[in-house]
């Protein structure tokens, strides 16, 4: 089945590979030992998620580990949010760093738009939200909503975003989102917000103007400023934001408001 030449090639490749491996092994022994800080760095780098997403502000997990090895306190200024989402990882890090980490509440990203706005004109420019937004705020009737060209999707190192083809809106998969926040500055309309991961519902609209009334002229599922959600909540958890002309939706569950909303623009999380 294998002729002589193939066999020779296989043998030679194996021998060369073996030789290279042995050379590396020998040099590993000859070269001076790694310094103590480097050893500590390697230990930290081992327990870090290794995604090299850059959400902490360092160029990669190894650089982050170096920063932590030099000063463990810097975790407070530049926390690794991916590690904080994983209890096992937090425990390992505490073990290696020898200090208690303030885990805080893990956060997730939400997009404040449901994307029901109709398309106003045919946009054929550069395929990013940022460039589309410069042309009269996007190609949709609503100049506040999701443009749907996926700047957030490209920024996300964890593939948490998908673009709903039908509605042309970005959707976050909370199972994949780690709350790193890399997507937040990417959205030209500022629709992405990090919310505590026990948030029960959020407002799926960012229509922050009264004109034209009602917002439905621009989008069939827009906040129509009826304030029914505020009235429905008897405990006063839902308040009205006069500046943005939108309700402030709390993170605690307010099922009455969700069901009462006429355009059903208050969305339960995970939907």
């Amino acid at each position: 089945m294998i002729d002589g030449l193939t066999l020779i090639i296989i043998v030679i490749l194996t021998l060369v590979g073996l030789g290279c491996g042995i050379a590396i092994f020998i040099f590993n022994r000859i070269l001076p030992e790694e310094s103590e800080t480097l050893k500590a760095t390697a230990k930290i780098a081992e327990v870090l998620p290794g995604a090299n997403c850059g959400a902490c502000g360092q160029p990669g997990c190894f650089a982050y580990a170096q920063a932590l090895a030099a000063d463990p306190e810097s975790f407070k200024d530049q926390p690794c949010k991916i590690a904080l989402n994983d209890d096992q990882c937090v425990a390992d890090l505490e073990n290696v760093l020898g200090m208690e980490l303030d885990a805080g509440t893990p956060v997730k990203a939400v997009v404040h738009c449901v994307g029901k706005s109709e398309i106003l004109f045919n946009y054929k420019g550069v395929g990013t939200c940022k460039s589309a937004a410069q042309l009269s705020g996007g190609y949709k009737k609503c100049a506040f909503g999701c443009i749907g060209l996926g700047d957030c999707l490209r920024a996300c190192p964890y593939d948490a975003y998908t673009i709903d083809e039908e509605r042309n809106v970005a959707i976050v998969d909370w199972d994949k989102c780690v709350g790193c926040g890399l997507c937040v500055p990417e959205c030209p309309h500022g629709l992405i917000e990090l919310v505590p991961n026990d948030t029960a519902q959020f407002l799926g609209c960012s229509y922050t103007t009264l004109l034209p009334i009602p917002g439905r002229e621009r989008c069939e599922q827009a906040c129509i400023k009826c304030r029914k959600c505020v009235r429905a909540d008897e405990e006063g958890r839902v308040t009205w934001n006069d500046e943005r002309i939108l309700p402030n939706i709390p993170s605690v569950a307010v099922p009455e408001s969700v069901t009462e909303c006429p355009p059903q623009v208050i969305i339960k999380t995970g939907k």
Partner: protein
């Protein structure tokens, strides 16, 4: 002897790897911001080139030619270069962590640096003997270090220069590279 000198000058200046052959352009822009890092990068590449030329020469003439499987050279050369880079990376990481940080991703990227693979291929193509191959590698590495050093020296000064806003950073570096390339054209025809 004069042969060796002409090979050295030919590889270093006339057929300069970066500016004439366009090999190894990635570190040319990636690590040419600081003079120290650039020189170290050049030296690291030169060491890898020398070692790779030595090992691949032996492998080519003692193994590949004997069994008439020259077409396997790409695979085997890459294997050799990758392990050499591993060793260099290990050495730099353990002896000088600042340098390791300065070189960053470009250090492991020497593995895929076409300048290193290029010099081994040129050695084989030209039918160089062992000494000639080593001199060629030395010349190529020297030319690489020279251009990297020149570029980083210029870029250090560019940081302070009054460059029009839209040209600041990489664009003006490209312009500098163009002028450097034109200047190196002048070496053509020396040997």
């Amino acid at each position: 002897m004069s042969d060796l000198i002409s090979i050295f000058i030919g590889m270093a200046l006339i057929n300069n790897f970066i500016l004439t052959k366009f090999l190894g352009l990635c570190p040319f822009f990636g690590v040419s911001k600081k003079l120290n890092a650039a020189i170290s990068m050049g030296l690291a590449v030169m060491v890898v080139m020398l070692a790779a030329s030595l090992v691949t020469w032996v492998i080519y003439y003692q193994i590949l030619l004997v069994y008439e499987i020259e077409y396997m050279q790409i695979v085997i050369y890459i294997l050799v270069i990758a392990s050499l880079v591993q060793i260099i990376e290990m050495a730099i990481k353990r002896t000088n962590i600042q340098l390791y940080n300065a070189l960053g991703i470009y250090l492991p990227l020497i593995t895929t640096n076409c300048a290193v693979l290029g010099v081994t291929f040129i050695n084989t193509q030209e039918g160089f003997g062992l000494v000639e191959a080593l001199v060629a590698a030395l010349g190529a590495g020297f030319g690489f270090t020279l251009v990297l050093g020149m570029m980083s020296g210029i870029r250090e000064r560019l940081e302070l220069a009054d460059v029009p806003e839209s040209f600041r950073g990489i664009p003006v570096a490209f312009l500098v590279a163009m002028i450097l390339g034109l200047a190196f054209l002048g070496f053509g025809g020396i040997v």
